[in-house]
Every structure is written in C-alpha cells, then in structure tokens.
C-alpha cells in the first residue's frame, strides 16, 4: 500500500489539496506531478530520506512522491534546533528540502522540484509502481528533551481511517497542525484516503487569516488541540460552518467541549487519544471529558486499554508495528502493551486524565520538563530549592508554576527579587517554560529518596 494507490479509486477531477480558493488541485494534477517528481528524484529510490519543509503543502508533496519510493521517510520539524541530532539518530542517507538550508546538515542535501501544473514526462506510468514498503519515522520529544524517533508503517498509521470515498466527498478538512507532527499526519492521511479535500495552512499566516482562508475553501472539518480551539473561540471564526470538530494532543476539558458543542451544534464532536509512541489510539464521541471505564472491557476498534497500579494508561493497538527507529529499548511490554505515559484516575464511571507520569507539563501542546526549569532556577543567586509543577489553566490547559526556597538573608518578598528571577529565566528559557506564577516558601516537600516530591 502506498499513498498514490488512491489515484486508482478516486475520480480524476476530485479536488484533493488546496492552499487557497485559487489554488486547488485535482487528483489527476497531483498524479501527474507525482510521476514527474519521481522521475526527477530517481536516485532517492530505496534510500533512507529525511524530509524538511517550512510549508505544509511542500512537505505533503514530498510525502506523496516518496511514500512507496524511499525505504524510509523521516519527518523533520522545521525550526527545531535538534535537526542535526535527529538526522544522525535516524541513519538517513539524504536530506530532501524545498530550499537550500542555512545550516550545514551532516548528510548530502537534495532540493525537491517545485510544484507545477505543467509537468513533462507525465506518461511514464511505471513510475507509480510501489518500490518499497516505506517506513514513516516521526519524532516525539523524549523525557530528557532529546527527540525519540518512532517508526511506523503506512498501514498502521491508517488503520482507523475511513475509506468511504462517497462520504469523504462531503468533507473539507483544514490543516492546523504542522504536517510533520503525528496529529498533522493523521489529518493528512484521514482526508487523503477518504478522498476529502484538505486545505493547507500557509506558514507564518496568523490564525484568523488561516481560518478565513479555510472558510473560503469550504472547510467543514477541523482537528486541533484544545488550546488551539480555545484560541479559535477567542478569535473571529464567523465564517466557519463545521460538521466535524476533532480535539487531540492535550487533555480535552469539559469547558472547551461544552463551548464547542454550543458553537457548532450540528457537528460531530470527537476527542481523540493518540500518541507518536502508541500510534492511533481511540476516540471519544459523547462530548464528555475523559473516557468511559467500560472501554477497558470493550476495546474500541480493537485497541485494548489497561490501567496499572500507578494509574498509567497502557494501550495495545491492533496490528500495529511501530517501533523505536534506533536503540535497544523496547516500546512494548511482554503482552504487547505500550505505556502511554499518561496518568488517569477513575472518577465514577469514567477515567479522567491527570497529566504525564514524568511530570512533564503540557503548555498548549508543548512539553515542559520540570527538571529543566528547576535547573535554571537553582542557578540564580539565593535560590536553594526549586519545585516546578503544572497549574491548570483555562486557556493553555496548563501553565508552569514554581515554588522556591531561598538561602538565609535573601529577601524573597522584595519585588526586585521576583522580577530579577523572571528576567533571568527569560534569558535562558523559551517563553512557555518560564514560570508564570512564582512563590517563595519556607520549605518544599522532599521524598524518601531525597528528590523533590512530584505529586
């Protein structure tokens, strides 16, 4: 199975990808471009290729061309400072980009052909034959902040995807996630195999303009993190008429579910649980936060769920074959379950999400490791102990808060101390990692093992 198999089933004039109402492309146009670009990238056949593009449409074109063509595709995230590390860890042989990069990657670079409707040599049908069962390698931020590479097959990524092309013709998806993320891939594949039109975002365009462009292209299905939905509800979204509202990537709280239900009354409201490690998990459709406890005995779509004594949620996906791209660490236990790292608690007849087992804080979809922030706080003169934790927030889901214990003689009550410490954090940490709330305390609980207590 490869992405371009869709061309055999979908009507040639079906609009599949769009950037704006004036730039919409049919199946036959994408097919012709695909033959042309494979011709141009003949030497990448059977290679391990890393792909990097700022624009989602460009990245999607690379995936369309190389799936079934390259041995593996490693999706790099533009703007990440760990690109070189990820390239080395992935064992890729060549990096495919749309524009020459400013940095010098450790492997040879190829520049992908630009998208064009006037392509020569589009008649060489043999180029559409599948050459490889391409592995898709996606990165997930590991507990130490180093990216963890997880390799998937296309068939396991599309396991739950509907392929009803008639039904698919009624939906137009908007792409709000970066295509290089696991959630972005899900939206791309879901819309693709259902034969639905997908409207891409243009990099750097503000959310309100993207939403306006989606509305102009007839978008009626959107997937976003709860934080992005909250931002959307705080923005002008007048033109959007949604039939499908999907939330993922963070804990969906009742407030955002209720607000979306009130705003998009006729839409299917779905919050999905999936992760780069566990792959496609399950979805909840009743509009209530958390998930019904009965899913532990009635596996949704064949995905088995287990909650261990520590409250960790484990998943056993049906027929999935994802694995760590490198390293000896095993992703699964002996029964085939994968630890999602999410902590859940049974409240009545539902499990509610309580955060990450590592203590990682999810600030609007971006992970913060408390230890990293604590290590900077401890470097500031006068700070003796520091504890960083999540504070629930109605806009970002969670924000970072810190409690510090000071050395004797240090005046924590003075406004200069707090503003100095905040300024110091700003010099060393990205904005979403800086403690939004800073408290000075006499002591901080320490566990039996001498570590800062995390719960």
């Amino acid at each position: 199975m490869q992405l371009i198999d869709l061309f055999e089933d979908v009507p040639a004039d079906r609009l599949l990808w769009a950037i704006s109402p004036d730039e919409e492309y049919t199946a036959s146009q994408l097919r012709a471009w695909c033959i042309h670009s494979r011709q141009t990238l003949l030497d990448l056949r059977g290679k391990k290729v890393a792909v990097l593009a700022t624009g989602d449409f460009d990245l999607a074109l690379m995936l369309l061309c190389l799936d079934g063509w390259a041995e593996s595709l490693t999706l790099l995230t533009a703007g990440s400072d760990q690109i070189s590390d990820a390239i080395c860890a992935s064992g890729c042989e060549v990096l495919l980009v749309r524009q020459q990069m400013e940095f010098a990657p450790p492997i040879p670079v190829r520049v992908a052909p630009p998208f064009s409707l006037n392509v020569p040599n589009a008649s060489n049908e043999a180029l559409l034959d599948q050459h490889c069962r391409t592995r898709w390698v996606l990165s997930s931020s590991g507990t130490t902040g180093q990216p963890k590479l997880i390799s998937h097959s296309l068939s396991s990524l599309v396991r739950t995807v509907s392929r009803d092309l008639d039904r698919g013709s009624n939906f137009v998806w908007g792409s709000l996630y970066h295509v290089s993320s696991f959630a972005g891939i899900q939206v791309l594949l879901q819309s693709w195999f259902a034969g639905s039109k997908l409207v891409f975002s243009v990099a750097g365009v503000p959310l309100s303009k993207r939403i306006a462009s989606f509305a102009a292209c007839g978008c009626n299905a959107l997937s976003a993190t709860p934080t992005l939905w909250r931002v959307l509800m705080m923005s002008d979204h007048g033109g959007l008429r949604l039939r499908q509202v999907t939330l993922g990537g963070e804990i969906a709280d009742q407030a955002i579910l209720d607000a979306l239900r009130a705003r998009f009354r006729d839409a299917n409201l779905v919050h999905i649980f999936a992760s780069t490690e566990a792959g496609v998990g399950f979805s909840v459709r009743d509009g209530r936060e958390g998930f019904p406890a009965r899913l532990l005995i009635e596996p949704p779509n064949g995905v088995r769920l287990r909650v261990d004594a520590q409250g960790h949620l484990w998943l056993k996906p049906l027929n999935s074959d994802q694995r760590l791209a490198h390293g000896k660490q095993e992703l699964r236990d002996e029964d085939g379950f994968i630890d999602t790292g999410d902590v859940v608690e049974l409240v009545g007849d539902r499990y509610q999400f309580r955060g990450r087992s590592t203590g990682a804080i999810n600030v609007g979809g971006r992970k913060v490791h408390p230890q990293e922030v604590e290590s900077w706080l401890l470097r500031y003169p006068g700070v003796r102990l520091a504890r960083v934790s999540a504070k629930k927030n109605p806009i970002m889901g969670s924000i970072v808060q810190a409690t510090v214990v000071l050395s004797e003689g240090c005046d924590g009550a003075s406004p200069d101390f707090k503003s100095g410490l905040t300024r110091f954090c700003r010099e060393h940490l990205e904005p979403y990692k800086i403690p939004a709330i800073l408290r000075v305390a006499e002591s901080i609980p320490v566990s039996d093992t001498g570590k800062i207590a995390r719960t």
Partner: protein
C-alpha cells in the same frame, strides 16, 4: 469582594505587567473593543494574565462558569470578572 472599578484596575495592571515582562507593546489604541489576541499579547500571555488574576482576585471566571465561553475583546474579559465578582 472587590468592586467593579477595583476589578477593572487590577485587570489592566496585570495586562500591562505581563506585556512589560514579555517585552511586548500593547496596541496603542488598547481599549474596550480591542480583540485580545490582536492587542500585542498572545494566548500564552493571556493564560498568564488569567492565572495572575486568579491569585489577585481569588477567582477564575473561566473555570467557574457553568456556561463556558471564551472572551474575544477586552470588554468581554472585564465583564467576565465583574459579573462573577458581584
């Protein structure tokens, strides 16, 4: 319970404080009808504003509200706090 004018003054002080800390300039015409996310501050800044206001005023209208909604303009934001502060 703080009165309306105290609430409004507190909200404005906190917004200016957060803008200052983030090194951002509030829109020159910042006022009642300013759309929050076009005011010069982003969603993370407003997340901080709401968290600080919870500390200052000891309530958070967005978590307490049984009829959830999200403020679009500065006037919406102030109204949310004033209606719960009464």
């Amino acid at each position: 319970m703080p009165n309306d004018s105290t609430i409004r003054a507190t909200i404005e002080t906190v917004i200016r404080q957060v803008a200052d800390e983030s090194g951002k300039d509030l829109a020159a015409d910042f006022g009642e009808e300013t759309v929050l996310l076009e005011s010069g501050l982003d969603s993370l800044d407003f997340a901080i504003v709401v968290a600080r206001l919870e500390q200052e005023l000891e309530f958070d209208p967005f978590s307490a509200d049984s009829n959830p909604w999200y403020p679009r303009t500065y006037a919406d934001l102030v109204r949310a706090y004033e209606s719960l502060g009464r």
